[in-house]
Symmetry: C2
Subunit: 229 residues, 2 copies
């Protein structure tokens, strides 16, 4: 695996390298990311690129985080001066989104599974980004009226029993499980929250497609960077 990465690092025809997780057993993701040429690290996970992001001079912004900002901008959600809550502190989503929103002059609270008063903290947010990996975890109690809600969760359910009570009443969820035996749901109870939020991303079809677009954007940037353009 590391030999494969080194080969791609050296290959002048390769502009960007994306390491798709999860890796096969026996491989430490961090060692693989550390071995990437930082100039080809289009998912922005090499420590040098993570550091540059925190220093307000990003080279490659992790794709999902970049997609979330692109989405907020496309819909004209004000970021400067906004109170933002980011729920989940992963390296791929939560931390880079918090850094980006801070760079853009939002006041950011980074919450996680061990936070106290989680619903109350989220309820103060004008922008709520949820990436905690728990189906339907964010209910109406977490959302301020008029907030913009970005749901990054993608949870695969194969039965209604796996859903929390609030989600079980969703007609769409019931139909999907009855018809296909499975359903994709976000971390937010969409039906409950959507009447309260000013805007909210669906799952699937919300943040996901943006992630792919940002990956391509980063790859074009990588190609230009290596050619000094």
């Amino acid at each position: 695996m590391l030999e494969e990465v080194r080969r791609a690092n050296r290959d002048d025809l390769v502009d960007g390298i994306l390491v798709q997780l999860p890796l096969p057993p026996g491989y430490e993701p961090r060692r693989v990311f550390d071995s990437l040429d930082p100039l080809k690290d289009v998912d922005g996970l090499h420590p040098e690129n993570v550091g540059r992001l925190l220093q307000d001079r990003p080279r490659f912004i992790p794709c999902t985080a970049a997609g979330i900002l692109a989405l907020l901008d496309a819909y004209g959600i004000p970021i400067v001066g906004a109170n933002a809550a980011v729920l989940g502190r992963s390296e791929i989503v939560g931390k880079p989104v918090a850094a980006l929103l801070t760079s853009r002059n939002a006041t950011v609270t980074l919450c996680h599974s061990r936070s106290r008063d989680l619903a109350a903290t989220c309820r103060r947010a004008d922008i709520l980004v949820v990436a905690i990996g728990k189906p339907g975890f964010v209910t109406r109690d977490f959302v301020r009226e008029g907030a913009a809600v970005v749901d990054v969760g993608i949870n695969r359910l194969t039965s209604l029993e796996e859903a929390p009570p609030a989600l079980r009443e969703s007609a769409r969820l019931r139909a999907a499980i009855a018809e296909k035996g499975r359903a994709l749901v976000g971390d937010v109870d969409f039906d409950g929250v959507s009447s309260l939020a000013s805007s909210i991303t669906p799952v699937p079809g919300g943040v996901g497609p943006l992630t792919i677009a940002m990956l391509l954007q980063n790859t074009v940037k990588a190609a230009r960077l290596r050619r000094g353009k």
Copy 2:
């Protein structure tokens, strides 16, 4: 300057390199930090070290930030589950302190000069770290009863007129200016806040000495790392 750094990078007798700011005119601090050998960067400002900190595997923690955590630990201030507010988002203090408190399972709000509802946000904090560079900016209004307050500000005043109204009543400040024509004050109105906080650091003599101790600790770590110990 860059040649000087490269020489120190190569010199096997040099274990740690600290770039003292401000640099003479014409030098871009970032270019100088980027040119440091990351293994000798004892103030933790090379992007690779910044990235490693955000990835919860710090090599060198910026000294002031490390000192603040050491102080909280030495006085037994609970961090896990605490609500923390960090006022100021500098690369040397605010951002690394926020990252460290998040790593330790606090819920961190990173505030700055453009934050709305600044006093109310700070008032929710069990731990309040202030590094905003404004003498006496944080008054009683910003502090929850029983909070731990860490004042990172060091402001040099040469007259009472430079102090905000709340500070002008301070007997210590008046005495210092009358006797020596100058005084060092923090970002926190110590006299006003100290009766409300459970603990509070003085200026000078609070965080400052810890910064030096952490620098030595990082230098010892650097020496060991380079020798593979």
